[in-house]
């Protein structure tokens, strides 16, 4: 058991993507198998010692314990992300547009309209960029969060208010955004409407 505890503690800290408190680690165990708090603390301490001389280290921060890349090693590892930023997916842009036009809106409502699940990653990206935030909760089972756009969203896109966005009627006008739209999305050939009409001419037209 003690080796399993050590394994779980390490795996959780490495995969969490952020700090974990002792309580959060304890919460990973079902009540009947839950170790003593002291045992968890000892496992964390042992883990920290085992990282001596390695590229990573265990630190205690306000939010709990965190494994991070050692400062001396960070310059190399940081280069992992230096490359040109990727483009946002169509799914993300659709989600953003729906939040802008239908706010305050729950994730479930976005999914209903889009017809596919909205990944947590998308919500996270939009909130991290501070374009979107939670403004409340709907008081229905599950109390889903209500998302709305932010001041930063308006600023980024040069809008004074949401009223500066084109109306849906304008948007529907094929002339409105200019001629051939598909040419504008060279990086996303596989996400475009082409996919939908593949093999079944006529059937996917509603997606175009």
């Amino acid at each position: 058991m003690s080796s399993t505890l050590a394994q779980i503690v390490e795996a959780a800290l490495l995969a969490a993507g952020g700090p974990l408190t002792a309580d959060e680690i304890l919460a990973l165990f079902a009540p009947e198998e839950r170790p003593e708090r002291q045992a968890v603390l000892e496992a964390v301490a042992a883990l920290g010692q085992s990282y001596a001389g390695r590229g990573i280290e265990l630190v205690e921060v306000a939010g709990g314990y965190r494994v991070q890349v050692r400062r001396e090693i960070a310059p190399w590892v940081g280069r992992l992300w230096e490359e040109k930023p990727a483009r946002y997916s169509r799914a993300l842009l659709e989600t953003l547009a729906l939040i802008a036009y239908r706010q305050p809106i729950t994730r479930g409502e976005i999914e209903d309209i889009r017809g596919v699940a909205v990944s947590t990653h998308i919500i996270k990206t939009l909130t991290e960029r501070e374009w979107v935030r939670i403004v409340g909760h709907r008081d229905v089972p599950g109390r889903p969060a209500l998302f709305a756009t932010t001041r930063k969203f308006l600023d980024y896109f040069g809008l004074r208010s949401l009223n500066d966005l084109p109306t849906l009627a304008e948007l529907r006008d094929p002339e409105f955004l200019g001629g051939d739209l598909e040419l504008e999305e060279p990086d996303q050939p596989s996400l475009g409407p082409v996919v939908v009409s593949a093999g079944r001419p006529g059937e996917g037209v509603q997606d175009a």
Binding site: L14, A15, A16, G17, I56, R66, Q68, V69, R71, A74, V77, G78, L80, W81, P85, A86, R87, Y88, R90, L93, E94, L96, A97, L98, Y101, Q103, P104, D112, I113, R114, G115, V135, G136, H137, R138, D139, R143, L146, A148, T149, Y156, F157, G158, L159, S161, L162, N163, L165, P166, L168, L171, R172, L177, L181, E184, E185, P193, Q206, D207, A208
Partner: protein, 279 residues
Amino acid sequence: MSAEVLADAPALAPAHPAQQELPFAIVQGTPLLALPEDLYIPPDALEVFLDAFEGPLDLLLYLIKRQNLDILDIPIAEITDQYMEYVELMKDLRLELAAEYLVMAAMLAEIKSRMLLPRPSEAPEEEDPRAELVRRLQEYERFKRAAEDLDALPRLERDLFATQVEVPPGHVRRLPPEVDLREVLLALRGVLARADLFTSHRVAREALSLRERMSLVLDRVRSAGGFVDFVRLFELHEGRAGVVVTFLALLELIRGASLELVQTEPFAPIHVRLRGATE
């Protein structure tokens, strides 16, 4: 990289579990494997039953496996009759039956009639009328299996989690992508084309200012601790139109179960409160 290095790689999951007959209903804990003939089936239930099949080939496979028949030597008359029973039942109940089921019914009927024709012995090379169906059933079955095998593979987010250790700040310059408003609008146009939700009679421009106001009101109530005096939500300098928009936003939020109005006694001040607020 040699394989030894990765000796700790997870062993592939064992092959799919033994093929088991698929119960289409569970009644008081007992799986029901066949439709009792005299049973009245509410249309809803049959719809669920139908949903359990991925199409006519899947239904046929089910009928074959249910009776432990060899897929290579299907008693076509029997299977056709059973298949037709399902189709007729579904038709009787006016369920929306995918066209593929009817196409298959026609194909089965045709095979059945060809099987009845005497086959001249001097032409042994003539293909068995069932050959095409058997080929299709086998082909479908192998991919049905392949899908199960695929599902059994250990996969990210369910069985495996990639590590994501953080890098101390200052060393990563992760530039977020630039986005053109046009791209966002194009994406929305795509959604618009797919969803008819927007085809309501709401006037879009008004709806948008209403939507914005809804977010603002919600935020106001929230930052005021979830409880605010009703009248304080209105900005009189906005004039009549502004007050109306705020009022409509409030109504929408109440309707959407986000806010509620509270009045402790008649003629007491009205307050607006976040519903179920325990954040």
